[in-house]
Symmetry: C2
Subunit: 347 residues, 2 copies
């Protein structure tokens, strides 16, 4: 059976997967990304690993192509990375063409959050819908919008920058220059920052101990304290939930999509932020209220706000999916069939 | 030449226009909507006026159909008004079928803000773009999203509820149950409310005089005081601008569309709120910053935030447009040609 290669190029790990067109994983390889050794080294790591996999599966079926998810803006016209803070030296470098010429196969570049949305749409939470918004809560907050079964790129390939949605106009300053971006309240980085603020304000001995003793004072540790009952840690995840809720409600009101998916590492703390998130969504979107699962009869069109299903593999599977859907044609049988959202100007 | 009838059914006026398919107005009729006399009376007014117009132009060309813009939610599946606070007695009434049977021609129902977006896309600010967001700042704040040349309805026909975008999480309470909706800061109603608050706080003698002496203490009067230099009135339009700016920035970040159009009565105060609006858009959207007209070379893809061009006629022309674009086919030559936004998941 034909298969594709997906690459998830992060600041920490470089992961490569061979995935059949029906979605079955053949093999997954994880390497540390040695970003500090320079771009040339990382591209070498990547092409070596891809060659290893393609050689191994050369008798398995046709290689459809390679999809690569990278953090940062992708210029869709030229296939270059426009700006990537976590991958210094990659700006304006034609990754896509360079790797195509090295490997002799079609290569498609995509923003990592868009790739994750593609993965969840293909094999995860969104597999039965054609219209979804996905939030990836990681080091930063990324987003991807899938409309009529395809990624919506916008005019410059920059659409889906949902981490910079203003949720609190006079809120915490963001690296983008704005105040109160979602990313400042719902990323792993924000969770740790809020925990350090709580420690500085003497709000929690448990958080203070953890911040001193844990080698890595991470959002995971803070989540563990929250579920163990630490009030300050719980308050942090309340803030995470309220912030996502405001952002999601605004998208529900604008797009009236059937599905909103929350993924990325922080989504593991789902039970700690789900209630405050849904409280905001309900309060701030009457569209949600009249279309909430509990408000409509079975079989009626519902608005679902849900957790991502693929965990850290969403971007990897999504990247592998990219070469399968070039020009909108799909070779997967199940996922792309339902189209319950009218696009026409009239009915 | 073929023509269509557009109907703009508001709480105050009922307007009917006959418009040729190239966009030329044949005739426009304005009647007071006698809502208090009941639905049957208003439908009678409407069908009488339409019959008068169609009889007059029966030798002019083929009647393509009738489009009706109404305030409130439209159930796209059944063609009924789902809820309309300004038109009591219209809920769940099959307007579309009733009028079709009375007049014997195709009738298409649409939310009034969507119809306005359609009008601006056809003949106004958005005529050279296929993707735009429109805000209608009137008694309330409505919105319409045009994507790939067509209205985006969402799964229940409720998309584009941009007046209920949260711009200030703990802000003024809204009729929808939320706090801090755009509508609470950028509608004509909100302008008057903020002016009354300023009067109550003793902030402006001029506003106090106007509120006592003018039969109608309207957003227009408050705008006049603002341009005459009244600080409190200016501050109100600063708030209008900051609020729209936050909302627009969020949409730019999500959709990366080329155009955002501000229409409705309050848009007449453009010079009083334009600067604070653009200040927010610039601050809160780096997508805007890198694609602003002043940031890109001539001919490059730009993000335009602009005023609507058709004034109060946007909804009327848009309604007439509806029957012309059923099933997405268009008979207009000029407007629907440019498609510079890639929709494909890959390039």
């Amino acid at each position: 059976m034909s298969y594709a290669i997906g690459v998830d190029l992060g600041g920490t790990n470089l992961r490569i997967a061979a995935v059949e067109e029906r979605g079955t994983l053949l093999e997954k390889v994880t390497l540390g990304t040695q970003v500090q050794r320079g771009r040339e080294y990382v591209v070498g790591q990547m092409t070596d690993a891809i060659r290893h996999v393609t050689t191994k599966y050369q008798d398995h079926g046709k290689l459809i192509g390679i999809g690569i998810g990278v953090p940062g803006f992708i210029d869709m016209d030229t296939g270059t990375v426009r700006e990537s803070p976590n991958l210094p030296g990659w700006s304006n470098y034609p990754v896509h063409k360079d790797i195509e010429s090295r490997l002799g196969t079609k290569v498609i570049l995509e923003n990592d959050a868009n790739a994750a949305a593609m993965g969840e749409k293909w094999l995860g939470a969104g597999r039965d819908t054609d219209d979804m918004v996905m939030y990836t809560l990681g080091t930063g907050v990324g987003g991807g919008i899938i409309m009529a079964g395809r990624l919506w790129h916008g005019m410059n390939g920059m659409a889906g920058e949902l981490g910079h949605h203003t949720v609190l106009p006079d809120g915490h300053i963001c690296g983008c220059g704005n105040h109160g971006c979602l990313e400042q309240y719902a990323s792993a980085t924000a969770v740790v920052r809020m925990a350090r603020e709580a420690v500085a304000n003497g709000l929690s001995d448990a958080l203070a101990n953890a911040s001193r003793n844990d080698v890595e004072f991470s959002s995971k540790v803070i989540y563990q304290l929250a579920i163990q009952g630490d009030k300050a840690a719980q308050e942090i995840f309340n803030t995470v939930g309220h912030s996502i809720g405001i952002a999601v409600a605004n998208m529900v009101n604008a797009l009236n999509f059937p599905m909103y998916v929350i993924g990325g590492g922080v989504a593991s703390a789902w039970d700690a932020f789900h209630n405050p998130m849904m409280e905001e969504v309900r309060k701030r979107s009457f569209i949600y209220r009249v279309t909430a699962p509990e408000a409509v009869a079975a079989g009626q069109k519902r608005t679902i706000v849900t957790r991502a299903l693929l965990g850290g593999d969403a971007g990897l599977f999504g990247a592998a999916r990219l070469p399968m859907v070039v020009n909108g044609e799909s070779s997967a049988p199940a996922a792309q069939s339902k189209a319950d959202t009218p696009v026409a100007g009239t009915r």
